[in-house]
């Protein structure tokens, strides 16, 4: 998609509307804009530069509009035209890999998880850019920084994490005898058991749900101290901690609504919005889906969100979906690309984007914790912590094709599903996962 006049007008109108709504922050932003280091731009775009960005299809319309509006502002300020192509989430990886391999196509890619580690030698080093961004904006969160660095070198710029939180029906939780939402896994299990007894069960996907299924499986494993691999990339899944995670998952599964073995990413949203389940984990989009539908007002008013419970490890650990922006080494205008990213990360622009994403995108830099979107609605609050509590895929091993492949092949999702459905014993499910992981980490 090319930013044209119509797109700009639409984006500007949306921003104007957003500006009217946010009031006081708008004034702060204006002040921040005035103080923005306009003259401190580190990168001067090459003469006659133009850029092409490949990004994932936006989930939130406001996010897309704000990104496009910022892009248009960059074009107006620098004269560098930016074309934005969109691909569905799962298609970004193969397209970007082909572009990297062939040396043609988009100049930049906004991709997921460990994609940059699939072709690190085909990317422009952005240590200068990321160091500058970290200095200016309070530093990157540790988890997100790991998605951008390899061997001490920045190969990609962490953009955001997509927050995941428990969404529950307040009235149902209270009816089950819980005035406070439990913060630990033991209390959480008791809550799910009570919800089942009341006929208002919980539900988490055990099917091949790319996002929700992997988030749930990783939380189960990590919260109990299990790991797929150690720092050296050696497979260590066969551990008492993993067994404990599976036993816990079995108990939770017994409280779920029937059918979660087949759930894909959309099923938990549907079941929740239909009132079939009272508790699941999801992005903030679930809340907004209820908000937008007048028929679901009662559900929307009853929704509360909270971070996933803390397990025996004693700290919140989650696999949040993360996105980074990489510049391909075949890009003819690397300085323009860096200037573009530097512009997009400027306080006023990044704040505008995060705000327009309605808590869907959690910042990668600590400065933006102060964005009012996180306090504008209590529903948003748990999503603000996504970047803080996330662990990298394949923790604690190195990121790369192995970690990406293991996740895409649903190794953990299958391990838990095999065990909870009784298709394999706990030991056999772990052994099967171990065998598959050894293949990836050979």
């Amino acid at each position: 998609m090319t930013i044209d006049r119509r797109t700009l007008l639409k984006g500007t109108a949306a921003m104007a509307a957003a500006g009217a709504l946010i009031g006081p922050f708008g004034a702060r932003r204006a002040a921040a804009q005035a103080a923005a280091p306009a003259g401190a731009a580190m990168f001067t775009p090459e003469e006659g530069a133009s850029l092409r960005l490949l990004r994932w299809v936006p989930f939130v319309k406001g996010e897309e509009e704000a990104w496009n509006a910022n892009t248009q502002a960059f074009t107006e300020a620098t004269g560098v035209a930016v074309t934005i192509d969109q691909e569905s989430w799962e298609d970004v990886r193969p397209k970007a890999a082909v572009a990297a391999n062939v040396g043609t196509g988009p100049d930049m890619v906004m991709s997921w998880f460990d994609d940059p580690f699939q072709y690190p030698d085909k990317l422009v080093e952005v240590t200068d850019l990321c160091t500058m961004l970290a200095e200016r904006h309070g530093g990157f969160y540790e988890g997100l920084a790991a998605y951008g660095q390899q061997d001490g070198k920045w190969i990609s710029t962490p953009l955001c994490a997509i927050g995941n939180a428990i969404c529950y029906r307040d009235s149902h939780v209270k009816a089950a005898g819980f005035n406070e939402f439990p913060r630990d896994t033991e209390g959480f299990l008791k809550l799910c058991q009570a919800l089942k007894e009341k006929g208002t069960p919980a539900g988490f996907p055990h099917g091949k749900a790319v996002g929700d299924g992997n988030n749930y499986a990783h939380w189960l494993l990590w919260s109990h101290g299990g790991q797929t691999v150690n720092e050296a990339g050696e497979v260590v899944i066969n551990s008492p901690e993993t067994a404990a995670a599976i036993e816990y998952a079995k108990q939770l599964y017994a409280t779920f609504i029937p059918g979660t073995e087949s759930w894909l990413d959309i099923n938990n949203n549907r079941a929740f919005l239909a009132g079939e389940v009272s508790l699941t984990a999801n992005g903030v989009s679930l809340y907004y889906a209820a908000m937008k539908d007048p028929a679901l007002k009662a559900i929307a008013d009853d929704i509360r969100t909270v971070n996933l419970p803390v397990g025996p490890v004693g700290q919140p650990v989650e696999l949040a979906q993360t996105s980074t922006v990489s510049i391909f080494s075949h890009c003819k205008f690397p300085n323009a690309a860096k200037a573009y990213l530097e512009f997009m990360f400027r306080s006023e622009n990044m704040n505008r984007w995060i705000e327009a994403a309605s808590a869907y995108c959690c910042q990668s830099l600590r400065e933006f914790e102060a964005n009012p979107v996180w306090t504008s609605n209590p529903i948003h609050a748990p999503y603000a912590k996504a970047s803080e509590s996330l662990r990298v895929n394949g923790y604690a091993g190195p990121l790369g094709p192995a970690s990406a492949g293991a996740m895409a092949d649903y190794v953990l999702v299958d391990m838990f599903a095999e065990a909870v459905t009784g298709q394999r014993s706990t030991e056999d499910a772990i052994a099967n996962a171990e065998r598959r992981l050894q293949r990836y980490y050979r």
Partner: protein
Amino acid sequence: MTATLETRAPRRRRLGRLSESRNGLGFLFMLPAAVFLLFFLTYPLGLGVWLGFTDSKIGRPGVFIGLENYRWLFDDPVFWLTVFNTIFYTVFASIAKFALGLWLALLLNRHLPFKNFFRAVILLPWVVPTVLSAMAFWWIFDSQFSIISWSLMRLGVIDQPINFLGDPWNARWSVIAANIWRGIPFVAISLLAGLQTIPQSLNEAAAIDGATSWQRFTKVTLPLLTPIIAVVMTFSVLFTFTDFQLIYVLTRGGPVNATHLMATLSFQRAIPGGQLGEGAAIAVAMIPFLLAAILFSFFGLQRRRWQQGND
């Protein structure tokens, strides 16, 4: 200039000789098709086979590793489960599609009112894009909102929704049902075309000789229909064996890989998983099965000698 003309003249003569020769002309006519086949079929197939012998990953060319991918797959229970699923899916769906398709074709071959209308309607499942029909089946088989479960619960037959896609065997039969629904029109319309080529006089002569309708079907219709059955079932088996869209939309291979087919596993490991070599090896492993299906169809079903009265 003279030299140029001299070199052009023999070239024109060679072309002229080629076009005047019967074999040469045949070669020229076949050339575009051969080039097409070479670039768009042989090369990708060859590349796929080669990738199966490498450890290529998306974004990395990989090196030759011999049979390592196949050795791994040989010991991989997930792979063998998908082989079982694929054969199970293909056999049951193909048999059902053939039986129901033939039955439908026989019905449509009769003099029914609104015959053309029914023939057109019957094609709808085939015409609708697979993804769309798969989405419809996704709702039909939903663990919470299935219309089937809802109806049966309303009728008091069951008291909780059927776990269509969550239980491994339910899921296998559900995806087979969806495949049958989609595949029947192809079989039915093709066999109907075959039925219409059978001269009515043969059936009439058999009837005069006192043959019952079952005897007329088994002794006249079926033998004459065998060649078209061979072709139709070859295609039907190939389409079913390589099915992807239906599974991908309905289950993505779940629950716990119970509906993973070789095609979906190959995609999952090669593209999202980035293991191009292994994905290619899975795809290549489909070839013997496909060849077996084709050979069975041609040598088992077509029975040319028998049709020519030599058997």
